[in-house]
C-alpha cells in the first residue's frame, strides 16, 4: 500500500477473548455458506433439468469430498445460525454497560461465546447422527 500515514494500534493491544474467535468464525462461515448457496442453486437447477442432471448432483454429495464438504457446511450453517441469534440478541443492547462491567469477574457476554460454539458443535453431531440413522433405516 502506498499510504504511509501512521496507523493507530488495534488488534495487538487487546487481550484475547472468545468473541474475537466468534467474529472471525462468523465471517469465515458466512463466506463458506455463500458458496453453499451456489450449491443449493445447482441442486434446484439439476432437479428442474431432469434425472441425469440430478444424478450428477447426488453423485457429488455421496462422494468422499462431497460428504466432508457437507459436514463442514452443516457446522458452518449451525454456527452462523447460533452466533447470528446471539448477535441479534446483543443488538438489543441488553446486558451491556456499567452494571455488567464489574472488573472482579469476566462479563457474561464473554463466556456465552463458548456456549454458542459448544451448542453449534453438539447440534452438528446430532444432525449427522439423525442422518446416519435415517439412511440405515432407509436401506434396511
Amino acid at each position: 500500500m502506498s499510504n504511509t500515514r501512521p496507523l493507530s494500534p488495534h488488534l495487538g493491544i487487546y487481550r484475547w477473548r472468545v468473541n474475537m474467535l466468534q467474529s472471525t468464525l462468523h465471517r469465515l462461515t458466512g463466506l463458506f455458506l455463500s458458496l453453499g448457496a451456489l450449491l443449493v442453486t445447482w441442486g434446484l437447477i439439476a432437479a428442474a433439468d431432469g434425472r441425469a442432471a440430478w444424478n450428477v448432483f447426488a453423485g457429488f454429495w455421496s462422494s468422499g469430498i462431497g460428504l466432508v464438504l457437507l459436514f463442514i457446511w452443516t457446522w458452518s450453517l449451525l454456527f452462523h445460525l447460533c452466533n447470528g441469534i446471539q448477535h441479534l440478541l446483543r443488538d438489543t443492547g441488553r446486558n451491556f454497560g456499567p452494571p455488567t462491567r464489574d472488573r472482579t469477574h469476566d462479563p457474561v457476554y464473554w463466556s456465552t461465546g463458548w456456549f454458542v460454539i459448544a451448542i453449534s458443535i453438539a447440534l452438528t453431531v446430532l444432525v449427522w447422527v439423525l442422518l446416519i440413522v435415517r439412511m440405515q433405516g432407509g436401506a434396511a
Binding site: 455458506l33 443449493v40 432437479a47 444424478n55 445460525l81 447470528g84 441469534i85 441479534l88 435415517r134 439412511m135
Partner: protein, 137 residues
C-alpha cells in the same frame, strides 16, 4: 448561530453544496442485514429438515417433495433471503479487506450480479418444478 445564510447547525454550507453531507441511508444496510437474518433463522432450520427428507429420497420423490406448494414457496423465500443476506455480508468483507480500488469495485459489482443471478436461478428452477406438477423423468 448560523454564520451564513442557509446554514443549519454546525455544518458548513459549502459541504452541503458539494453534496458531501449525510446521504441519509447509513443504517439501511444494517437493517436489511438484520431483517434477512431474522427471516433466515426459521427458514434455515426448516431447510435442514427438508434436506433431511431429501437425503434418502430418489429423484421422483425429490421432485414431489420440493414441488409440494408449501415447500416450493418456502424454498423460493429461502433462496431470496439467502442470496440477499449473503450479498450484504460479502459486501462488508470486500469493503474491509480489499484495498485495491479497481479490484474492490469489480468484486462489489460482481457479487451483486452473482447474488441476483443465483436468486433468480433458484426461483426459475422452483417455478419450473412447481408448474410441471406431476414428477417426470
Amino acid at each position: 448561530m448560523s454564520a451564513y445564510p442557509g446554514q443549519e447547525g454546525l455544518r458548513d454550507p459549502l459541504k452541503v453544496a458539494r453534496g458531501l453531507g449525510s446521504a441519509k441511508t447509513g443504517v439501511h444496510h444494517w437493517w436489511l442485514q438484520r431483517a434477512t437474518a431474522v427471516a433466515l433463522v426459521p427458514l434455515s432450520i426448516w431447510f435442514l429438515f427438508l434436506v433431511g427428507d431429501l437425503v434418502p429420497a430418489d429423484y421422483p420423490m425429490v421432485l414431489a417433495t420440493i414441488g409440494q406448494p408449501v415447500n416450493a414457496v418456502f424454498l423460493i423465500v429461502f433462496a431470496v433471503c439467502l442470496f440477499w443476506h449473503g450479498a450484504l455480508g460479502l459486501q462488508v468483507i470486500v469493503e474491509d479487506y480489499v484495498h485495491t480500488r479497481w479490484l474492490e469495485l469489480t468484486l462489489q459489482i460482481a457479487l451483486r450480479f452473482g447474488a441476483l443471478l443465483g436468486a433468480l436461478a433458484c426461483v426459475m428452477a422452483m417455478l419450473a418444478i412447481w408448474l410441471a406438477g406431476t414428477p417426470h423423468s
